[in-house]
């Protein structure tokens, strides 16, 4: 419960200026120190690390929690300067991770554990997708009648179409200028389907709200300010929904984007062997179970008793965000500018800070 609360506070928070939190795991007397830099909240990943350290008593983990943009800049600088920094980097901004690998900043690792990953979640044996977190729609159970619960993007479009729709001005999503993850999801949507254009237009016409961040959006839905939130990170929403009966979570049945946080071992890692061991642990059955308990590995087959509402079969609806160089387009300056302009057409300036 405490963990969930912490998660609610810090997960996917706005990009911070730099390092946010530090915590050490394991015996301070340990000879080896694994320096882990991640965007993931310490409280969420902590139990997983502790579980790992049970198998590696001689190891000590120094955990640094970073905002995704700051982490990206730091790693790029480390790479250019060939500076010894982190031993393992895990970030939800997978396009930035792809860019780091594309710039040759990573070192390869191959093992039985990495071989179990699907092709879409490995790149060059230097970048691995370690979690499974769907982008979901969250709705307020009290205010949205079951018949109106949107099961897909088409349902959402239909709900927003009538001029007298009660959903007008009460649909929320991430502000892509303030949430890196929101940008990534929206961008993936734009590549995935033509629905996205219609959705943007509908959001614009119906006065949908773009805001930051996950906590605020979920709170808004729970409190009834918003009826539906679109493209919310499922790992976060599900943890909240477990304890809040007002919240319903739907995996869109036309397709569900699945984010896999990406891990890489920097080229100049001081402890690449320990980093590889931690990575292999995360990919092992035990590590996956630990990630599942932490809410970072959401099973879309609906058999784990979570609150996720699914229609359709898991295979057809899952669209993992593949770790390929195609993600580099999300970092292209012109593309970003164009995409932002298009976004602004639907969500006029609301006084948020432009990055």
């Amino acid at each position: 419960m405490i963990r969930a609360a912490l998660l609610a506070l810090t997960l996917l928070a706005a990009p911070a200026a730099g390092q946010e939190l530090i915590r050490d795991f394991g015996a301070p007397t340990a000879t080896e120190t694994l320096r882990l830099r991640s965007t993931t909240d310490i409280a969420v990943l902590g139990p997983v690390i502790e579980r790992f350290l049970e198998t590696r008593p001689g190891l000590h983990v120094a955990y640094e929690q970073w905002g995704s943009n700051a982490l990206y800049r730091l790693q790029a600088a480390d790479c250019t300067a060939a500076r010894v920094g982190a031993d393992l980097v895990i970030s939800s901004a997978v396009h930035q991770m792809v860019d780091l690998v594309n710039e040759g900043c990573a070192r390869p690792h191959r093992s039985a554990a990495t071989a179990t990953l699907p092709d879409a979640l490995v790149w060059r044996d230097e970048l691995w997708g370690v979690t499974r977190e769907p982008a979901v729609m969250v709705y307020n159970r009290d205010l949205v009648p079951p018949a109106q619960v949107p099961r897909s993007r088409f349902d959402l479009l239909d709900l927003l179409r009538p001029t007298e729709s009660p959903f007008r001005t009460r649909v929320a999503t991430y502000d892509i200028e303030r949430s890196g993850l929101g940008f990534l999801f929206a961008f993936a949507d734009s590549l995935e389907a033509t629905t996205f254009g219609g959705l943007m237009e509908s959001f614009g016409r119906s006065g949908a709200v773009a805001t930051c961040c996950s906590a605020e959006i979920i709170d808004g839905v729970a409190e009834g300010r918003y009826l539906v939130a679109y493209n919310v990170l499922g790992s976060y929403a599900l943890v909240r929904a477990r304890r809040d009966p007002r919240l319903g979570v739907v995996a869109p049945q036309d397709y569900t984007l699945v984010l896999a946080r990406a891990a890489m071992i920097p080229r100049e890692a001081g402890q690449p062997r320990a980093a590889a061991q931690f990575l292999d642990f995360l990919l092992s059955a035990e590590g996956r179970a630990a990630l599942e308990r932490a809410g970072l590995l959401v099973r879309l087959d609906g058999e784990d008793g979570t609150a996720l509402e699914i229609s359709g079969t898991a295979e057809t609806l899952q669209r993992p965000i593949a770790l390929t160089p195609a993600l580099l387009i999300a970092l292209d300056t012109h593309k970003r500018a164009l995409f932002r302009a298009r976004w602004r057409d639907a969500f006029p300036e609301t006084g948020g800070t432009a990055p």
């Binding site: 040759g104 580099l328 164009l338």
Partner: protein, 453 residues
């Protein structure tokens, strides 16, 4: 018998095939590697060019500035080389980067043509391949070239080149195996006639010298022919030796017995006059015996020569002259005449054998014929003749019938043996011995084929 073995034929074929395969393998490998490298480069260069063209097509001019609406398809195209890092850069007319990575190297300046330029460049620490595509704008608000550079590392190219070369090598290895197998089978089947021949020889009775008749491929038939020829010669020589022994036994027994009897008589004879007569007869008989021995040994020698002496061009006129000179001193020899044409009469043969045969014929004529004896050379339609003529009627038809056989002992003084020698020589030269009446007497002639005929 010592067998000196050299390399087996199979080993030779294996060596030759192996050498061909190794040489071929080296050639094919180098060709396959270079072809694979070229094919991979071309294939992935097209991919690069496609991506660069995609990006170039997505450039628009908005508010006096070039704007690139980076197409996802370009990146998906590049991602077809899934393990390769990529780098791109779009520069404006002033060379400033509009979007993309500043680290992408510009193309070498020497080729400023309008077409796409492929060039090698690094992506960080890894080598890479780039293409540069230039799109020229001539709008009111914006004019000049916008250059798109796209590059990627070489992993996929190297993998494809390896695949192609590996495939070629696999095919070569399979072909090598097949060639080796077929070479082995072919050698085995080619050598089978030789093994059959060896088995046939091994099975033979040691005294069997008849020709071997086995179906043989044309390449081995000469070996069998030579073997059969060799056995034929051996057979003839064995027969000649046998004949010599037989003749000696047959022809020498009677005269030797007679000499013995007469010698005994002479030993017992008291009357000096009769003893002297007896001794004179013994001496006469000894001379006959010695002549007989000479002829028999001559014959054996001639028969031996016919198989062994090398054949050369012989002018029959020289042969006739030699015969004449050899017999000049014999009784009645001075009565002989030579009849020679003005031009050379050439046959291929052994001069010594021919002289010997002619001497036998002439000696017969001197001994039994009627003067004048004529030795001559004549030319017929397709053959030439070395003849000996006398003015007599010749032997009777019955005697003529049996003449030339070895045991023509009824011809006194061993005339039959002389004819036999002449016949052997004629046959060994591809000709015949002709005996018959001519317009003015009896003629014995060696009829031989003309040289070159």
């Amino acid at each position: 018998m010592a067998e000196s073995r050299t390399w087996s034929l199979k080993a030779r074929v294996a060596l030759a095939v192996g050498a061909v395969l190794i040489l071929g393998g080296v050639v094919v490998l180098s060709v396959a590697l270079s072809y694979g490298g070229r094919a991979a480069r071309e294939a992935y260069d097209r991919l690069l060019l496609g991506a660069a063209n995609d990006i170039a097509a997505a450039i628009t001019i908005r508010d006096g500035a070039a704007l690139v609406d980076m197409p996802a398809s370009a990146f998906q195209m590049l991602a077809l080389a899934p393990e390769d890092r990529i780098r791109y850069r779009v520069t404006g007319p002033d060379g400033a980067t509009l979007t993309g990575s500043e680290d992408a190297p510009p193309p070498p300046e020497r080729r400023a043509g309008g077409g796409p330029v492929f060039y090698d460049g690094d992506l960080g620490a890894e080598p890479g391949r780039y293409v540069a595509v230039t799109r020229r704008f001539a709008e009111r608000s914006f004019s000049g070239p916008v250059r798109v550079m796209v590059g990627q590392t070489l992993r996929a190219r190297q993998a494809l080149a390896r695949d192609i070369a590996g495939g070629a090598l696999a095919v070569l290895a399979a072909a090598g195996l097949a060639i080796g197998l077929f070479a082995w089978l072919a050698t085995r089947s080619a050598l089978r006639p030789l093994q059959r021949l060896g088995a046939a020889l091994a099975r033979r009775d040691p005294t069997d010298l008849t020709p071997i008749t086995l179906p043989m491929p044309t390449e081995i038939a000469p070996v069998l022919g030579a073997l059969n020829g060799f056995m034929g010669r051996l057979d003839r020589q064995v027969a000649a030796t046998r004949n010599l022994i037989g003749d000696a036994a047959h022809q020498l027994r009677t005269p030797v017995a007679a000499i013995r009897a007469q010698a005994q008589d002479a030993q017992e004879e008291q009357d000096p006059a009769r003893r002297a007569r007896l001794l004179a007869r013994i001496h006469e008989r000894s001379i006959g015996l010695s002549q007989l021995l000479d002829r028999m040994l001559d014959r054996a020698m001639i028969i031996h020569r016919t198989d062994t002496a090398p054949r050369a061009a012989v002018d029959l006129r020289d042969v006739a002259l030699e015969i004449y000179e050899a017999l000049e001193d014999m009784p009645g020899g001075t009565m002989m005449r030579l009849e020679l044409p003005p031009a050379p009469v050439v046959v291929r043969g052994d001069a010594l054998s021919l002289v010997e045969a002619g001497k036998n014929l002439a000696a017969n004529a001197l001994a039994h014929g009627r003067a004048p004896i004529r030795i001559g050379v004549a030319r017929d339609n397709r053959a030439v003749r070395l003849y000996v003529r006398d003015a007599g009627p010749g032997p009777g038809a019955a005697i003529l019938e049996g003449m030339g056989a070895r045991f023509a002992s009824h011809a006194p003084g061993g005339a039959g043996l002389g004819l036999a020698i002449a016949r052997e020589v004629a046959q060994s030269h591809g000709g015949t011995l002709r005996l018959g009446l001519c317009e003015d007497g009896f003629e014995a002639a060696l009829s031989l084929p003309k040289a070159g005929a």
